[in-house]
């Protein structure tokens, strides 16, 4: 290289001795010059460079290959089963009865696994409705931790054959010794199982069958036996009633057949056509129940006053009929009595009491009013509630005396839900053998020597005979997941019958059901049809009967006087019922429709009672001598009473349900031959400590805002838009700066009728099951992070001690001017040309701005990774639990926002189906999960572009309005004002 110099000074300088400050410049220049002179190709990698590259290469390969991709197992069919088309859903009818809840269902099966429970609209009784518990019953199929997986003898797993040999030997040994074996079951309505029990009894003469229902309806059954000689529970027809009186009877929530009654009740209360007419509903009750929340007039009463009040009502009616009798009571029966008398034969009085005396009075009242044959019928009587309340006590004595040495249990859990549960557990130890046939572990299976795991109902054949004129079939929808066997098959096995359950039921139906019908000419077509439709109905024949004055008088004289002191009223919660499904996180996280508390039971006290006891919400209250429960201030709880939900406090329920709440079953007592679910003269004392509830709604007043608009029937008959004057005013001001949105093909909309909605929350669980909504647990719910896409808001108004209650199911309103859409920076939520507000989960970065800007607060955020996370072990953390997930709906990642999509997957499915068949979509063909689950059909979905669709008609109804319509968000969900007989409910509604 030639050296250029600028000055002599520089020339003289030795290289490397550049003037300070110049050195680096010179070096840099040198490098560039070197490079230019040599040219790029002359720089060859040396040994060091080779090693560098080599090292880098190895490190990269190591790092990249150590990033393990998750392995997902997807095993294709080698031979495709005939009925299974990958990616396509099949729907099968089946039916459900777990000893407590009754359901006729259609089950969605995807790729051989049930993923969703729906109501069977072919069933004339249920008409497609379900309860929250029925919707949730799918969960337990995939409950990895709780399901019993193999037969077990004394804690050791064994084969079914070993178990059968052992049991048969023990049964025979007992018979040889002259000892008895008891078969303790809940009410069995399966003709198949009943027949199998009979044959088992024939085979083993020492066997006797007793029926035990923890939540008993024996009072009403016995009353009808005594009063009319009819050993059964009449069917109620609320739809035919003009006046409904419920006395401590939650017929919309838990009493007998709530799905049926919800539908009937909605029919009686719905404003249909131009008939301004609706049933008048009185509710006299201790705890503010779901039913009481819907009543026009609600009167709080203590449980012990129930008999006295009904006696007074009966006597009042007698007086009016010309037989003067004393009808004085704290609660004057005159108003109710008069209303009943105005509608003789078209009224209905129901009581939730389990006392035969009280139920005789109720029967007497209905009989006086001529309701039997119209609103109460025996031709289609219910065959549930066959329990003998005294049986367990007798069984315990037999075991303790050594008469009975063997015990077979089915669908019962007396260790938990009998008030002598502990004694029962001790007694189990005395037995030669105790066998439980249960699909899940529970408190009783924990004490049993033998376990013969039952199939889940979705794995087994079965049949049900829930009503005199109604039969239903149950079919397996998935092969057995574990080494289980249905109870029916076990019975058959032990009685030496070699036929399987399907063949047995089939032949039973051929013998007993087929001859009773005339529609089908061959048994095969009858069987196939019954299986497809799930149900088989017969015409009902109404028996005739009379009631003797003497019976009434005797019943009347047995009514105890009103109780003293504080009283406890036990009730079943909407979510958990009697506690069979307490390990079901969907139900645990379902907020109680009235109190809005989830994951807990509590001592419900009215604010005044709490004040008198000097306690507030969250304080601990000792009830009697054992039970300590946190206090919940429950407006509407009758004064001096404590309401406590049963079904909580399980110890062996499983991961989710154990230890949630306290067990209130020990407070049940046996009065006469029937269980009594209330106590009087209870000592209440404040305990040290506090408790935090997970309550999903903290504020209970509408603050005078026009959120739920209501009116009276009188006002409605004068002007159908009564209470909804605002709507027209706001519609007049409809103006927009932007071009009106166009929905060229469909414009999906939903209408919700407040007169039909009872607030039962079955839509909430239906939606949860359909849309893979995660359960997040008590702590997270307490942080107000409930993930439900549809919630039921509940508002109180009026008197704190006896408020009026309003319910509002609320999901994404799919606003055409959606505040959430324009604020999302990444356009993750947009409007479809069918009017849907859609979420692109993949695009969402989780700024939560849309959550803030939603005036309805229906958007939900995935605060954590709920799926596949052991911290949220509510099913989806294990492989089996993941089978619960609906493959049609994306499982959301942590950090994204989600919300109701109006079941876009169902819309898409419906549209594709119509397209494949080359036809237009029919109105009502697409039903979102909430609307499907609704027992009262309060939610109507359809296309607003079709002027003849049901939803369009409802949108044109003068009662229709949009929530917060003054914001001009233009929701696609309409609400129909609530019309009721409630007086003065318009006072502070429209002041703005």
């Amino acid at each position: 290289m030639k050296k250029y110099w600028k000055s002599l000074e520089e020339r003289k300088q030795e290289p490397g001795k550049a003037r300070a400050g110049q050195e680096h410049e010179v070096l840099a220049k040198q490098e560039i010059i070197d490079f230019l002179e040599k040219g790029g190709d002359q720089i060859r990698p040396g040994r060091r460079d080779f090693l560098k590259f080599c090292g880098f290469g190895v490190a990269t390969a190591a790092v990249v290959s150590s990033c393990k991709n998750p392995v997902n197992k997807a095993i294709p069919y080698l031979v495709k089963p005939e009925d299974v088309n990958p990616g396509e859903s099949e729907y099968y009818a089946t039916s459900f009865f777990d000893g407590r809840d009754l359901g006729n269902l259609v089950v969605k099966v995807r790729d051989g696994r049930p993923v969703k429970i729906e109501g069977n609209d072919k069933c004339p009784v249920m008409q497609g409705g379900t309860t929250a518990r029925l919707q949730a019953s799918l969960y337990s199929l995939y409950d990895q931790a709780t399901r019993l997986k193999a037969a077990r003898i004394n804690g050791k797993d064994c084969s079914m054959d070993d178990l059968d040999r052992d049991i048969t030997a023990r049964l025979e040994q007992a018979a040889a010794q002259g000892k008895k074996t008891a078969l303790l079951t809940a009410t069995i309505i399966s003709p198949g199982i009943l027949a199998a029990i009979e044959s088992l009894k024939t085979r083993h003469p020492g066997l006797y069958h007793i029926t035990y229902d923890a939540l008993s309806f024996s009072g009403i059954r016995l009353a009808h036996k005594v009063a009319f000689g009819q050993d059964g529970i009449p069917s109620c027809h609320f739809d035919k009633a003009k006046v409904i009186v419920g006395v401590n009877c939650d017929f919309l929530g838990n009493w007998l057949s709530p799905v049926e009654y919800s539908r009937q009740y909605a029919t009686a209360r719905r404003m249909s056509g131009n008939k301004p007419e609706m049933a008048l509903h009185y509710q006299v009750e201790s705890c503010l129940s779901l039913t009481g929340s819907n009543a026009d007039v609600r009167i709080p009463l203590k449980p012990s006053e129930e008999g006295g009040f009904l006696k007074a009502l009966y006597n009042y009616l007698l007086t009016e009929y010309g037989n003067p009798a004393d009808h004085s009571h704290r609660i004057n029966p005159a108003e109710i009595g008069e209303a009943l008398l105005r509608h003789r034969g078209q009224s209905l009085v129901v009581s939730g009491s389990n006392s035969p005396e009280i139920q005789i009075l109720v029967a007497g009242i209905n009989h006086l009013l001529g309701n039997y044959g119209s609103t109460l019928t025996f031709g289609d009587q219910l065959l549930t509630g066959r329990g003998d309340d005294a049986a367990v006590g007798k069984l315990l004595r037999d075991i303790e005396s050594g008469d009975t040495t063997g015990l077979i249990l089915y669908q019962v859990n007396p260790v938990y839900d009998h008030f002598e549960g502990e004694r029962f557990l001790t007694a189990l130890k005395k037995l030669n053998f105790s066998l439980s046939s249960s699909p899940y572990s529970n408190e009783t299976t924990a004490g049993c020597s033998h376990l013969c795991p039952d199939d889940h109902y979705l794995e087994a054949w079965g049949d049900h005979h829930p009503k005199e004129n109604l039969y239903s079939l149950a079919q397996p929808l998935i092969p057995r997941l574990f080494n289980t066997r249905s109870f029916l098959e076990s019975l058959l096995k032990w009685s030496g019958d070699t036929s399987d359950a399907q063949a047995f039921i089939r032949s039973h139906w051929e013998k007993h059901c087929y001859p009773r019908q005339e529609r089908f000419q061959s048994f095969e077509s009858f069987w196939v049809n019954s299986l497809q439709e799930g149900v088989f109905t017969l015409p009902a024949a109404e028996p005739t009967f009379s009631l003797s004055e003497e019976t009434m008088a005797r019943a009347g004289s047995n009514i105890p006087a009103d109780g003293k002191g504080y009283e406890v009223a036990l009730y079943e919660s909407i979510g958990l019922g009697d506690g069979r499904q307490t390990n079901n996180p969907w139900l645990l996280e379902l907020p109680d429709p009235v109190s809005k508390v989830c994951w807990d039971n509590y001592a419900a006290l009215s604010p005044a009672t709490a004040k008198a006891l000097n306690v507030t919400q969250g304080d601990l209250l000792k009830i009697g001598d054992k039970l300590v429960l946190p206090v919940l201030l429950q407006p509407g709880q009758a004064a001096s009473t404590v309401g406590i939900a049963l079904g909580f406090g399980r110890t062996e329920a499983g991961k989710a349900g154990s230890g949630v709440g306290k067990n209130a079953w020990p407070l049940v007592s046996l009065t006469g031959d029937c269980f009594s679910y209330s106590l009087d003269n209870v000592m209440l004392a404040k305990e040290a400590g506090t408790h935090v509830f997970a309550q999903t709604q903290m504020h209970h007043s509408m603050e005078g805002r026009p959120i739920i608009r209501e009116t009276t029937l009188d006002a409605y008959s004068k002007d159908p838009a009564a209470g909804n004057e605002m709507h027209e005013k706001i519609e007049k001001h409809h103006v927009t700066l932007y071009p009106e949105q166009e929905f060229p093909v469909h414009h999906w909309g939903m209408a919700i009728d407040f007169n039909a909605c009872t607030g039962c929350s079955s839509c909430v669980v239906g939606c949860q099951a359909e849309n893979n909504i995660p359960v997040i647990g008590k702590e997270e719910v307490g942080k107000k992070r409930l993930m439900h896409w549809i919630r039921v808001d509940r508002y109180y108004s009026g008197d704190e001690e006896n408020p009026e209650v309003l319910f509002q199911p609320l999901m994404c309103q799919h606003c055409d001017h959606a505040p959430c859409e324009n604020v999302c920076p990444v356009a993750a939520t947009t409007h479809s040309n069918e009017g849907l507000n859609q979420m692109a989960y993949n695009r969402c970065i989780g700024t939560k701005y849309c959550i803030n800007n939603c005036p309805y607060k229906v958007r939900r955020f995935n605060w954590f990774r709920y799926n596949d996370n052991p911290e949220f072990a509510f099913g989806t953390e294990n492989a089996l639990g993941k089978m619960l997930l609906n493959p049609d709906v994306t499982v959301r990642e942590r950090g994204v926002v989600e919300k109701c999509s109006l079941c876009v997957q169902r819309i898409q499915e419906g549209k594709l189906k119509a397209k494949k068949e080359g036809r237009l979509l029919k109105d009502g063909e697409i039903t979102p999960a909430c609307a499907q689950a609704c027992p009262s059909k309060a939610i109507v979905f359809g296309d607003l572009n079709d002027p003849e669709s049901e939803v369009s008609k409802l949108f044109r109804n003068p009662r229709n309005y949009y929530l917060l319509e003054e914001l001009h968000t233009l929701p696609s969900v309409g609400y129909l004002t609530k019309v009721s007989h409630r007086a003065g409910n318009t006072e502070d509604q429209h002041s703005h």
Binding site: G846, K848, F861, W863, F864, R865, L964, T969
Partner: protein
Amino acid sequence: MYKTSIRGPLVLGDKTFGQISSDIITPIDSKLPAWWKVAFLISLIAAAWGVWAMYITVRYGIGTWNVNNSVGWGWEIINFVWWIGIGHAGTAFSIFLLILRQRWRTSINRAAEAMTVFAVGCAAIYPAIHMGRVWLAFFIIPYPNTRGPLWVNFNSPLFWDFIAISAYLLISASFWYFGMVPDFATIRDRATSKIKKAVYGFFAFGWTGSSKQWLKYEALSFVLGGIAAVLVVSVHSIVSTDFASSVIPGWHATLFPPYFVVGAIFSGFAMVMTLMIIIRKLYKFHDYVTDSHLNAIAKILIFISLIMGTAYATEVFMAWYSGNPYEMFTFFHNRITGDYTFHFWAMVVCNAIIPQLFWFKKIRRNLTWAFIISLIINLGMWYERFNIIVTSLSKDYLPSSWTTYHPTWVEIGIYVGTLGIFTAGVLLFFKYIPMIAISEVKGVLKYGKENRNHSH
């Protein structure tokens, strides 16, 4: 023409140019004082807590905070707006006072601008960390892509925010940096150690101080200043549209853009005051940051405080006058009374009432009082953001979703962390960058004195 007869001399003491250089560069050349080390350690501990909290947030999710289905934004957005507000001071000082020909800014603008950069940097952490999926934050950048192409939502205030903040951060940092170039050259020239010379030499960008360079420097200052002037107003206006363009009662107000800009300048000036009192005290810059400087800031604070009071009153008045029941509820039942009474009144007292004490010359001149009040103002401004964000969200349209909000340790941690990062940054600034613009102070050395000499 910039001569000031009312304010007196801008630089006290008979300083020569050389004295000024050495005075200001002394902290850079001298050893680290003990208090600096202690303060830096505390800052680092705070920052470490913040880093831990941010790690927890990113590792486990936003669920580690206490925000919920109704209150979707909590401390993170409060602190974001708070920091952005503080970050207004530097640019506001440099630009507005430049436009208003207030040459007294020269002693202060460097520190104020430094503060701006650190504050805006701290603020910028929050929009990122509050995202559910921060690893996809780049979705907010409108870049050509193969997804359609899928663009961002240009209608979203959050997108405007992103543009406004990044532009502001870029411009403020450039403005600050270019302002420092001549000073870096001064240090380079005076430096004795090789490393120092190299580092400052690098940052001095080859500055020689030639007239040509000064000419270009002035031109660039004007261009950047011109852009920054607009950004000062736009950035907080746009931040305010996050709220103003929503439908939430208490947010949906046309008052918000000016209200936010003024509020931001308020908190920025208060923070400048805090910082200048500290600098003056610790580095004995009494001759440069004179009483009259602080006096001027205090006077500005009185004025802004009055505007703040007016804004609060206007908000309340509008809630009543509009007849909107939701607004009425938010202001009268969730702020003036109700769950958040304390926060509302803390805001009013701290921002609208206490600064009025500066009307008294004694308080204005008393550095202890001035220092305390400057801190109170920043506390008040924090409460203002709490009021706006939390109270509005906690009780909006449907009472069924009403709730309350309290932060978790993670949220507090992130806040403390940004405080730590900020103070650490400021401490580094103390040590490594001339705290006062040497070249500019030299330019105003004669003002006041010259004038007085003439009058005598």
